[in-house]
């Protein structure tokens, strides 16, 4: 459905997108992941015909963004980073305007507006001025605008930014319910966002494609080992952290132990497991068995930053697994 080949976009001095190629199948939800300034928005703007590419090509449903922009635009719904809303219009009025702008026939407009209002849960604010809406409602009106003409492809630029947790969950559910009929590309810099709603991930950094894979593959690859933060307390007498460390290293499945902090009779560690091993139960047993008190035991997730560090390190020729191999 979406085919991008060697896409490059250069602004006056900066190279925003550097030779990116990817394809998206019909009905898929793809997450576009990257830190701020990575080139996500630029790529999306090229896909939606807002910006022309400097080099390379992008095709939507077989139509090139440069050759047949009108055909592409008919098939795309786009929610930019800031929803494109007119504050002095009422919600219903705005959606009718967008509907006609997108080429819906006059008979279809009210029907579709009703449908998307229900779908995006904005029916209760239809008569309100957009300028008076809260951020969450505005975002949803933006989303309604994008799906109004029932486009084949939806391009959503950070659809959940600025929403409260409840709204984030609702928006995610809405996006997932749209998959199947629509091919969706959504950009975000939040990893959990991608995990929750996307089937595939495309990671870009500094304009370059860093990785593209299914979510499960990628998380397996990067989060194959479990990391656990541990704080141990010794009620009677001081704690010899070297001894504790030795004890922890002996636990089956532990690959390496890092001492984080020591304070009086407590010390904290970060423990990493071998690939695919769960070690929390074993660790707890070992600590209690040795007569110490277990103050804290919590799994540490890989943050987006870690993934990026790992992926960019891998780019430079260092394998992702290096860390485990050396310390094991």
């Amino acid at each position: 459905m979406i085919k991008v080949e060697g896409l490059t976009k250069r602004y006056a001095r900066t190279l925003a997108v550097d030779d990116i190629s990817f394809e998206v199948e019909k009905g898929q939800i793809v997450g576009f992941l990257g830190p701020n300034g990575a080139g996500k928005t630029t790529t999306m703007r090229v896909l939606t015909c807002f910006l022309p590419p400097t080099a390379g090509s992008a095709q939507i449903a077989g139509f090139d963004v440069l050759e047949q922009p009108l055909e592409v635009k008919k098939r795309i719904g786009y929610l930019p980073e800031t929803p494109p809303l007119y504050p002095d219009m009422e919600v219903g009025e705005y959606l009718s305007f967008v509907g006609r702008l997108k080429g819906l026939s006059s008979a279809d407009v009210p029907k579709r507006v009703n449908e998307v209002c229900d779908r995006c849960a904005i029916s209760d604010v239809r008569m309100k001025l957009i300028g008076k809406l809260s951020k969450g409602y505005r975002q949803r009106v933006g989303l309604a605008q994008a799906i109004l003409h029932n486009p084949d492809v939806l391009v959503l630029d950070e659809p959940t930014s600025g929403l409260d947790p409840k709204q984030i969950i609702e928006t995610r559910e809405l996006i997932r319910s749209l998959a199947g009929d629509h091919t969706i590309i959504l950009s975000t810099h939040i990893l959990s966002e991608v995990e929750h709603s996307c089937e595939r991930v495309i990671i870009i950094n500094q304009g370059k494609l860093v990785a593209q894979d299914t979510v499960t593959n990628l998380t397996n690859r990067l989060r194959g080992s479990e990391q656990v933060a541990l704080e141990i307390l010794c009620v009677n007498g001081a704690l010899n952290h070297a001894e504790v460390r030795q004890r922890l290293e002996q636990v089956v499945g532990v690959s390496h132990v890092v001492l984080k902090d020591t304070k009086d009779n407590r010390c904290s560690f970060e423990v990493e497991s071998l690939q695919g091993r769960s070690i929390r139960a074993e660790l707890a047993r070992a600590v209690v068995g040795a007569g110490w008190d277990l103050n804290e035991l919590r799994p540490v997730g890989l943050s987006l930053e870690d993934i990026f560090l790992q992926l960019t390190a891998a780019e430079k020729g260092e394998p992702v697994e290096k860390k485990e191999e050396v310390k094991a």
Partner: protein
């Protein structure tokens, strides 16, 4: 064409949903009303003096009231036009709604035309207020209606040309004040360009004063349609709209 109407309707609604339209209508009504009052008072006074001096010379309403009024209306228009056009593109760029317009299946030129037509209709509505004053002249006198019609045609042509320039300037900035200020400066320059003909008779001076919008309006105020003036205004409108659509296209390459 359908897309032009969609954009036109939206712009019209947004003029009348905000205070802009009402403000401009009020400004014009007050200032033009004052001009009208002064012109008619002066006309009546002159008429009485003529009678007292025993010279029953026929006084022409068209010549002494309507013609200066139409010229005044075009001066007021000069001040109002930047306020009509400044928001058209600058606001869309600032609020990001330009992304909606430019990613919709609509040609750039259709958007430009829709916006220009909306501005033109608002300008016509503003001029329409002066119809009340003109109506009063018809109620108490017998002015000739044909030169008045020609005068309004001239006002519309001149307005259309300045509006096209205003829209073009509005595409070049995200800041409405900058757009408005620059449009006013350009309109004023186009206005006073004919002054060079007062002290210079060279070929250059002729070209420059030919560009002045006011030299082409004067015949209309007299009730004369000269094809060279009509062609001047139409080509300026075309040129302004062409520049606008090129400038909108270049937004994609520049941003």
């Amino acid at each position: 064409m359908r897309n032009v109407i969609v954009i036109f309707t939206k712009e019209m609604k947004s003029y009348f949903a905000s205070p802009i339209a009402y403000l401009l209508l009020t400004i014009f009504a007050v200032i033009f009303g004052f001009f009208f009052y002064s012109a008619t008072r002066f006309f009546v006074l002159q008429g009485m003096q003529m009678q007292m001096m025993g010279r029953g010379m026929p006084m022409d309403v068209n010549e002494y009231v309507i013609r200066p009024l139409l010229t005044n209306a075009s001066v007021i228009g000069l001040f109002l036009i930047p306020m009509i056009t400044m928001r058209l593109y600058a606001e869309e760029q600032r609020s990001g709604t330009i992304e909606l317009l430019m990613t919709s299946p609509v040609r750039d030129l259709e958007i430009v035309l829709g916006k220009w037509l909306a501005a033109l209709v608002l300008y016509a509505a503003i001029l329409g207020i002066s119809g009340i004053n003109m109506g009063l002249l018809f109620a108490f006198g017998r002015p000739d209606w044909k030169p008045i019609l020609v005068g309004y045609l001239g006002l519309m042509l001149q307005g259309g040309c300045l509006l096209a320039i205003g829209i073009f300037i509005s595409t070049m900035t995200r800041n409405q004040i900058v757009a408005g200020g620059a449009t006013f400066a350009v309109c004023l320059m186009l206005w006073v360009l004919d002054w060079v003909s007062a002290y210079d008779q060279s070929a250059w001076a002729k070209v420059i004063s030919y560009l002045s919008v006011v030299t082409h309006f004067e015949p209309f105020a007299k009730g004369v349609i000269d094809s060279k003036d009509v062609i001047f205004y139409l080509s300026m409108i075309f040129f302004g709209l062409f520049l606008t659509s090129r400038s909108v296209e270049s937004l994609r390459w520049r941003s």
